[in-house]
């Protein structure tokens, strides 16, 4: 990428992220209006749905390759950390995910797909009225899971981790050296980690709470410490009802 092009791209990204940057600086999490007006209560028992975490290795040439073992490792770290965090959290208890029939599993999968669609919009919408009255949800289609587990809510997680190869890291270093970078090209962006967590009321499908964490560079979900750090950071804002009310409602 030429310097002019990368400067333009950087300017574009900055401009487009401005409205969201303002939002993120206040509180990073979202709280459903029913928790704010107390027509819903925070859940007591939660079940963690199958976690969707993909880890990619990115080469110097920008080729992204999903690494199955790394993805499994990162997923396990997230689940372990999540379990530990939930059970530490006052008033919250984890209920184990039961075995599901083929149809139940298909329904959970489709609800997970709906969840991803909803949170991608919900977390970037920027409309004042939706922030003040956050009312997103995925509908009551997972009620059977509530009956089966006795849980009030489901914790839904998805994440991605991009790990740079040694070649890419080298290119990143060399790309910052004047004159050398004429030959190597502009430095590529290094890896990053992203985890999103949401708590969904199993009876109504209301997205009661959600938060996410994005980390640049050195973070690595395959490292339990890093994964735990991210999960802790995310849950630091749980449920954060009054904080949310103070900033966005009152």
């Amino acid at each position: 990428m030429s310097i002019r092009k990368s400067a333009f791209s950087a300017a574009l990204i900055l401009v487009l992220s401005l409205p969201f940057a303002v939002r993120a600086a206040d509180t990073p999490h979202w709280v459903h209006y029913k928790l704010l007006n107390k027509s819903s209560t925070t859940p007591k028992k939660v079940v963690i749905l199958p976690v969707s975490v993909d880890v990619f290795e990115v080469t110097a040439g920008d080729v992204k390759e999903k690494v199955p073992e790394w993805s499994a490792e990162a997923g396990n770290n997230i689940i372990r950390s999540l379990s530990a965090t939930i059970n530490k959290e006052a008033g919250l208890k984890e209920v184990k995910m039961p075995r599901l029939s083929k149809n139940e599993a298909a329904s959970v999968d489709e609800h997970m797909a709906l969840y991803k669609l909803v949170v991608n919009t919900a977390s970037t919408i920027g409309w004042d009225h939706k922030i003040r009255r956050f009312d997103y949800g995925i509908g009551p289609g997972l009620k059977s899971l509530q009956r089966k587990t006795g849980a009030d809510a489901a914790v839904m997680v998805y994440g991605q981790d991009y790990a740079s190869t040694a070649g890419r890291k080298t290119k990143a270093v060399l790309g910052r050296i004047p004159i050398v970078n004429i030959f190597t090209g502009a430095p590529p962006t290094l890896g990053h980690s992203f985890v999103h967590i949401g708590v969904v009321d199993l009876k109504t499908g209301d997205l009661l709470w959600m938060n996410s964490e994005y980390r640049d560079g050195a973070s690595n979900l395959r490292d339990y410490g890093d994964a735990n750090d991210i999960i802790s950071e995310i849950f630091d804002w749980y449920p954060g009802i009054e904080e949310y009310r103070k900033v966005y409602v009152d």
């Binding site: 333009f8 487009l16 489709e110 709906l114 991608n120 919009t121 919408i125 009225h129 939706k130 289609g141």
Partner: protein
């Protein structure tokens, strides 16, 4: 260079639209009717709609980006990323631009429906778009089609689309509702039907079509 500056300016304008409501208008009991040049309809309370209609779009026709005139308004409650209603008028000459077909005043709704589905499939690359039903209907007193379609996205989420469409000498009109089959489609179905029944064509529909704005030609 000019193109990039304009893109950046456009992005600033759009961002400000994202942060405020310059691009979007909230509907309440004081402003329930959304009006465009050719049509108007009543929007459900609490939904947002585009403040002004889009008057042109850039589409890929046989590998070349072309600017096509239209008149289109979008309506949504939760955001277009999840669901939405779009009301569009296309001019006769570019009624089905990707398949390069025109609409004619005496075109039957069934014929328009067939072309519309082919246009959708080609434009979106969604060969797997299924037609669940295709029935005659009436919109604004005119003979129309009612299409119900469905496809699954890459995550396996079923997306359902209901489209009403009619043709007259002023062009091809569609009122389309797209939402995930799970929860959203049924939730807002009645509101969509109410919007459709409120649709009215306006006298402005019979005005000569506008020209592509000079600044938009910079993108050609």
């Amino acid at each position: 260079m000019m193109k990039k500056i304009l893109t950046l300016i456009g992005s600033v304008l759009l961002s400000s639209g994202c942060a405020q409501t310059a691009y979007w208008t909230m509907t309440d009991d004081m402003n329930p009717v959304a009006k465009s040049t050719s049509f108007e309809m009543t929007i459900p309370e609490g939904w947002v709609r585009t403040t002004q209609p889009e008057t042109w779009e850039r589409i890929d026709i046989d590998g070349e980006l072309q600017t096509v005139l239209l008149e289109s308004m979008a309506v949504t409650y939760d955001g277009l990323g999840i669901h939405g209603i779009s009301v569009t008028r296309r001019y006769s000459d570019t009624a089905f631009p990707t398949i390069k077909k025109k609409s004619t005043a005496n075109m039957l709704p069934l014929e328009a429906a067939d072309l519309y589905v082919a246009e959708l499939r080609k434009r979106s690359g969604l060969e797997r778009l299924k037609v669940l039903s295709n029935k005659p209907a009436k919109v604004g007193g005119k003979q129309a089609f009612e299409l119900v379609m469905q496809y699954k996205n890459d995550d396996g989420l079923r997306i359902k689309i209901m489209t009403y469409g009619f043709v007259d000498k002023t062009g091809f009109y569609t009122i389309s509702y797209r939402a995930p089959y799970l929860y959203y489609y049924d939730r807002d179905y009645a509101k969509f039907k109410k919007l459709v029944s409120s649709f009215r064509q306006l006298k402005g529909a019979f005005d000569p079509p506008p020209k592509i704005p000079a600044w938009a030609k910079l993108f050609t």
